[in-house]
Symmetry: C2
Subunit: 217 residues, 2 copies
Amino acid sequence: MNDELPETERTRLRRRRERGHFDRQTIHGILDAMPMCHVGCVIDGTPVVMPTLQWREGDSVYWHASGGGRGVKAWVKGPVCLTVSILDGLVLARSGLHHSANYRSVMVFGQPRLVEDPTRKNELFNGLIEALYPGRSRELRPLTPSEIKRTAILSLPIAEASAKIRAHGAVDEEADYDWPVWSGVVPVRLQVMQPEPDPRNIEGIDVPDYVRRLTLG
Amino acid sequence: MNDELPETERTRLRRRRERGHFDRQTIHGILDAMPMCHVGCVIDGTPVVMPTLQWREGDSVYWHASGGGRGVKAWVKGPVCLTVSILDGLVLARSGLHHSANYRSVMVFGQPRLVEDPTRKNELFNGLIEALYPGRSRELRPLTPSEIKRTAILSLPIAEASAKIRAHGAVDEEADYDWPVWSGVVPVRLQVMQPEPDPRNIEGIDVPDYVRRLTLG
C-alpha cells in the first residue's frame, strides 16, 4: 500500500532545501494536532488569508462559516490553500541569517465544496465538537434544522497536500562555531490553562474530563 | 491626529458581525506579539499560503526569504495578504454552533517590495533579531555582503490593514442557559520553555537574559 500523496507543482512549492513530507500519517497528525488554520482564497485577484478552525475526518478537512458570508462565496468559486502551522521553537544561531524557527506545517490545495445534506452536516458539526472534546456532542443542545441550514460546511479533500517540518538546532557556518555567542533552541508550546467556567453555568456542573485532558499542538 | 487606517473593500472582509479594529496601536500590538505569520499570494491563479516569520518596524512589516525562491518571485509580482493570528482560548457553548475560539488576528493587504539597499538590508536583518532578542544583534557574527545580497527582504506597508479580536465567553441562545452542560473558556497561551543550548556552544556561555525574558503572544 502506497500511503504517499502525489507530489504536484503546487505541493512542491513547500520545498526549499528540505524535502516535503507527503505521507498521510504525517499530514493527518499535524492537522489533528491544531484546529486553527489559515484558509487562502482569491477575491477579485487579491489573495485573502483568513484564520478559522478546521477539523479532519478521514481524507477530508472541514471548516464552517456563516452561510451568506463573503468567505463562503469565494471558497466555492475557486481553489483554496488551507495551511496549518504549529510553532515548536525559536532557533538562535551564531549569525543572523541562520536564525530560524522549528515548526510543523501542512498545506492542502484544492477546490472546496459545500456539504449539502442536512443529516451529513449535523454529523459533521458533531465531528468538529468530538475532534476537540470527545463525548461532548451528546451533551449539547441538539442543533435545529434552521441552524444546520444557515451554517455552511466546506469540505476539502486531502488529495494534494504536503507537510514541512523543521525540528533541529541551529546549523551554522563551520567557521562560526567558535564565535562566542549563545546558540540553541527555545522550545515553545501551546499551554492549555485553567478553564474559566461561564458565570451562568448551572450550579454543580463540574469541568468535564475532556476539558481537563485537552491538549493542542 | 487620526490614528485609524482607512476601511477598504478588502479590510472590510474581516468583519462579520463584530467590528474590525483599524487603529494602529491595536494592529501593531498584535504584529509585535507574534512573529509567525501566514503570507498568501497567487501563483498561476491558485492561492498559496506560506508560514514565515515577520517583524515590524514603524509602519511596515517585513519578512525574508532565499533570494531565488519561488515565493519571492510571486510576492513581488502581485498583492499579498499577510495574516498574523494568535489563539487565546477555546470557547465551549451550550449548543454546537456557538462554540468558538478567542483570538487576536491582523490582516495586512498590499504589494510587497524588495528592499534593495545593502546597508538598509543589514539594518533590517538586525531589526529582526532585535525584535525578538533585544541586544543580540551586536553579539552575532556580522553578515557578509554575499549573505545580505542573496537573501531577499520583503517590505509591506501597513496601510491597508485591520485587526479582529474575540475575547469573551460563550454567547448562547437565551433559551439554552438552563441546558445542563459545562460552558466556559479554556484559555491557551504560547509557553516559552527551558532553552536547549547547542551542544557545540563554547563552554561558559550562559543563556542570555533576552532569552530568559522572551515571551510570545
